[in-house]
C-alpha cells in the first residue's frame, strides 16, 4: 500500500481528517522553500502537494500564479523539484503528491517523469489540465508500480461522470469546492458539502475538498463532508507576505497548526 492510501486509511481509522497542504516548490527560492515545507510537514500536514511551476497556470488564481513566477525566476525546474523531493525524503516520510500542468511533464518525458519521481520519493501526481480522456498517453508509458494519478471532480461534473472518474481513480479524489480558479472567493460550504456527500455515496475512495478555502471555519465545515481538505492559496499568500522574514517557516507552521486544529 502506498503512503497516500496508508495516510487516508490511518485518518479514517482514527476518525480524523487529512490536511493536504499545497506549496510551490522553490518559492521564493530553493533553500527557503525547503525550510518552509519541512516546517509544515513537522507541524502536521498529512499530505504534501508539491507544485511544479508552469508559466501559464490557467486553472490557478493570481496568488499561485505569482508564486509560480517567483519560483521560475529563481530557477525552479522539474529536475530541481525532484531534488526537493529527495531533500524532504531525507527528513520526513510524508506522502508527497506532485502537482503540475501537463506541458512541463510532457517536456520532461512521461516515462522518465514516473521513474525519477518515484526514485526521488514522490508518491503520486496530480496534473490539473489532464482529464481522464487524455491521460492514457501519459500512464501508458509508466511501468506498473503504484504511482497514482490523482483525479479531480468539479461542481460542474455530473454524478454519472463523477462515478466513472472515481472508478478509474487511485489514491484519493480531489473534489473542487467551487467553480473558478484556486484562491478565489465565493465559497458556499453547504452547497459544496451536499455535492461532496453525493460523491461519497458513489465511491469508497477518500475524498478531499479544495479550492477557495482560506479560513479555518470553512476548513472545518468542509472537512466534515469528506476525508480531508486541501489548502493552497492561503499558504502561498502567507509565503508572499513573509518573504525575507527569518521566521517565515514558523509562520507557515502556525497556520498548519490552526487548520489542523479546525478540522479535528
Amino acid at each position: 500500500m502506498g503512503r497516500i492510501t496508508e495516510s487516508f486509511k490511518k485518518n479514517r481509522q482514527n476518525k480524523s481528517k487529512a490536511l493536504v497542504g499545497f506549496v510551490t516548490a522553490g518559492d521564493p527560492d530553493f533553500e527557503t522553500s525547503k525550510k518552509i515545507i519541512l516546517s509544515m510537514c513537522y507541524a502536521g500536514i498529512d499530505v504534501l502537494e508539491l507544485g511544479i511551476p508552469f508559466s501559464d497556470p490557467s486553472a490557478d488564481g493570481p496568488v499561485i500564479q505569482r508564486s509560480s513566477m517567483r519560483a521560475l525566476k529563481n530557477g525552479m525546474t522539474m529536475e530541481k523539484a525532484m531534488d526537493m523531493v529527495r531533500e524532504i525524503r531525507k527528513h520526513h516520510s510524508i506522502p508527497i503528491v506532485l502537482f503540475s500542468y501537463y506541458n512541463p511533464v510532457l517536456a520532461y518525458g512521461a516515462a522518465k517523469f514516473q521513474k525519477d519521481a518515484m526514485e526521488a520519493g514522490a508518491d503520486g501526481v496530480l496534473i490539473v489540465d489532464l482529464p481522464p480522456e487524455e491521460s492514457e498517453e501519459l500512464t501508458s508509458q509508466w511501468d506498473d508500480r503504484e504511482f497514482p494519478l490523482i483525479r479531480l471532480i468539479a461542481p460542474t461534473t455530473g454524478i454519472e461522470r463523477a462515478k466513472s472518474i472515481a472508478a478509474g481513480a487511485k489514491g484519493f479524489l480531489y473534489l473542487i469546492s467551487k467553480t473558478g480558479v484556486t484562491g478565489s472567493g465565493g465559497l458556499d460550504t453547504s452547497k459544496t458539502g451536499e455535492y461532496a456527500d453525493m460523491v461519497r455515496k458513489v465511491t469508497d475512495m477518500p475524498v478531499c475538498t479544495g479550492f477557495g478555502i482560506s479560513k479555518p471555519e470553512d476548513a472545518r465545515a468542509l472537512a466534515a463532508f469528506g476525508d480531508g481538505i486541501v489548502i493552497g492559496s492561503a499558504f502561498e499568500r502567507a509565503i508572499e507576505d513573509n518573504i525575507g522574514k527569518s521566521d517565515i517557516d514558523e509562520k507557515l507552521a502556525a497556520m498548519v497548526r490552526s487548520f489542523k486544529e479546525a478540522i479535528k
Binding site: 522539474m78 510532457l106 517536456a107 461534473t157
Partner: protein, 402 residues
C-alpha cells in the same frame, strides 16, 4: 506534397494525428462536452443553417469578392496575384464568420453571456458586434500591451457595449488574455459561452472554428473558377492561431493546389523575438490542446513577438501542426520589416490598406510571385483591413527603418 486523397480529421476525440484533444481542468470538461454535443446537433439543423447563412449574407456581407491585384502583380513581376477580400466583411476581418456562428450557437444553447479573448482586437470587435446584435452581455479579455497597440478597436468594443478587461499578467498579450478568459470561464461556466477566436483551444473549438471559417475557401474556389476557369496554383494565408488560414486552406486540402502558411518572424528567426511557432516550436500543450508551441526545454512557454498583435502568440491551432507534419502545407515566415513593406506596397499599388497580419501573407505572396511564371496564379487571403494598425505603423515608420 500537393494533394492528398482522403482527409478526415479530427477523429471523434478531436485529435488531428498526435495533436488537438482537450487538456483543460475538470471544471471546464462538462461545458466542453456540452458544447461539442450542441455543435454537432445544430450544425446539421436546418433552422440553424438557415439562420447562419442569412446572417452571413445579409449582415456580414458575404460572399466577399476575390480581387485581381493587377498593379501588385506588376510590382512583384511574376505570377498573377488575387486577393480574397475578407477585409470587406462587416467589422473588417474574417473573424466575423466565426463569431456569428458561435454566438448563434450560444443563442440556440440558451446562453446569454459571451466572453472572448483578443490580441489585435479584431476578434474582440467581432464578438462585441454579435453580442450587440443578439442583445447579449459581453466581456473581452485583452492584454494591456495590446490595448495600447490597438486603441481604435478598444474604443469600438466599448461603443458596442462590451466590457474590455485589461490583463496585466505575463507579457500582457494574447496568451495572457487567453489564460484570463479561461479563468473567468471556469468561474462562470454554467452561464457563459466562451467564443474562442482561432482554430485553437480544446476540442471542439479547432474543428468548430474551421467549420465556421471554411466558407472563405469554398467561396474562393468557385470565384477563381469563374474568373480564371481553374483553381489557383498556390494559396497563401498568415498564421497566428491560424483561423483565416484554416478557413482558406480546408476546401483545398484534397485539391492539386500548393498551400503556404506564413508565420511572423518578428525581428528574425535567428533572434528570440519572433512568433514562428511551426518553424521553431516543439510539441507541447497550451490552452487546451496539443500542438507546436514556443517553449524552453523545461516546457515553460516563451514570449512570442510580432509587430502584429494578431500573430503575437506562442501557440498555433493543432490542425496546422498536423498539416505541417504530413507535409501538406508549407509554413514559411515573414519578418516585421517584410510585413511593413508589403503593407505599404499594397496601399500604393491597389488602394487597399491591409491588416498587419495579412501583410505577412502578402509579403510571402510578393516573394513567391516574383519566382513564378506569368500564367501562374497565387491567391492570398486578405484576412482583414488595416485601419486598426494605422497609428502603430505610422509610429514605426516615423521611428525610421521602414
Amino acid at each position: 506534397m500537393k494533394k492528398i486523397d482522403s482527409y478526415n480529421y479530427p477523429d471523434s476525440k478531436g485529435h488531428f494525428g498526435p495533436y488537438g484533444g482537450r487538456y483543460v481542468g475538470e471544471t471546464l470538461m462538462p461545458a466542453i462536452i456540452e458544447l461539442e454535443e450542441a455543435y454537432k446537433k445544430y450544425l446539421d439543423d436546418d433552422n440553424f443553417k438557415k439562420d447562419l447563412s442569412k446572417l452571413l449574407n445579409n449582415y456580414a456581407g458575404r460572399p466577399t469578392p476575390v480581387t485581381f491585384a493587377s498593379r501588385l502583380t506588376e510590382f512583384a513581376g511574376g505570377a498573377k496575384i488575387y486577393l480574397k477580400r475578407e477585409d470587406l466583411t462587416h467589422t473588417g476581418a474574417h473573424k466575423i464568420n466565426n463569431t456569428i456562428g458561435q454566438a448563434l450557437l450560444a443563442k440556440y444553447m440558451g446562453k446569454n453571456r459571451l466572453i472572448a479573448e483578443t490580441g489585435a482586437g479584431q476578434h474582440g470587435v467581432a464578438t462585441a458586434t454579435v453580442a450587440a446584435l443578439f442583445g447579449m452581455e459581453c466581456k473581452v479579455f485583452m492584454g494591456s500591451e495590446d490595448i495600447r497597440r490597438q486603441a481604435p478597436n478598444v474604443q469600438r468594443m466599448r461603443l458596442l457595449g462590451s466590457e474590455v478587461i485589461p490583463v496585466d499578467s505575463g507579457t500582457g498579450t494574447l496568451k495572457d488574455a487567453m489564460n484570463e478568459a479561461l479563468r473567468y470561464w471556469s468561474a462562470e461556466v454554467e452561464t457563459t459561452f466562451y467564443v474562442i477566436g482561432s482554430v485553437a483551444g480544446p476540442h471542439p473549438y479547432p474543428v468548430m472554428v474551421r467549420e465556421f471559417q471554411k466558407i472563405i475557401g469554398e467561396e474562393a474556389k468557385a470565384q477563381m473558377i469563374k474568373e480564371e476557369g481553374r483553381l489557383p496554383d498556390t494559396i497563401i494565408a498568415c498564421v497566428g492561431g491560424g483561423s483565416n488560414a484554416m478557413g482558406l486552406f480546408y476546401d483545398f486540402i484534397q485539391e492539386d493546389v500548393e498551400i503556404i502558411g506564413v508565420e511572423a518572424a518578428g525581428e528574425g528567426t535567428d533572434t528570440p523575438k519572433h512568433a514562428a511557432t511551426l518553424n521553431l516550436g516543439t510539441t507541447g500543450v497550451l490552452h487546451g490542446s496539443k500542438s507546436y508551441v514556443l517553449q524552453d526545454s523545461s516546457g515553460q512557454i516563451m514570449e512570442a513577438h510580432s509587430v502584429s498583435a494578431g500573430l503575437d502568440y506562442p501557440g498555433v491551432g493543432p490542425e496546422h501542426s498536423f498539416l505541417k507534419d504530413i507535409g501538406r502545407v508549407q509554413y514559411v515566415t515573414a519578418t516585421d520589416s517584410d510585413a511593413i513593406h508589403a503593407f505599404k506596397t499594397l496601399c500604393r499599388t491597389e488602394g487597399i490598406i491591409p491588416a498587419l497580419e495579412s501583410s505577412h501573407a502578402l509579403a510571402a505572396a510578393i516573394r513567391e510571385a516574383g519566382k513564378r511564371k506569368k500564367d501562374d496564379i497565387i491567391l492570398v487571403c486578405l484576412s482583414g483591413r488595416g485601419d486598426k494598425d494605422l497609428a502603430h505603423v505610422a509610429t514605426l515608420i516615423e521611428k525610421g527603418g521602414f
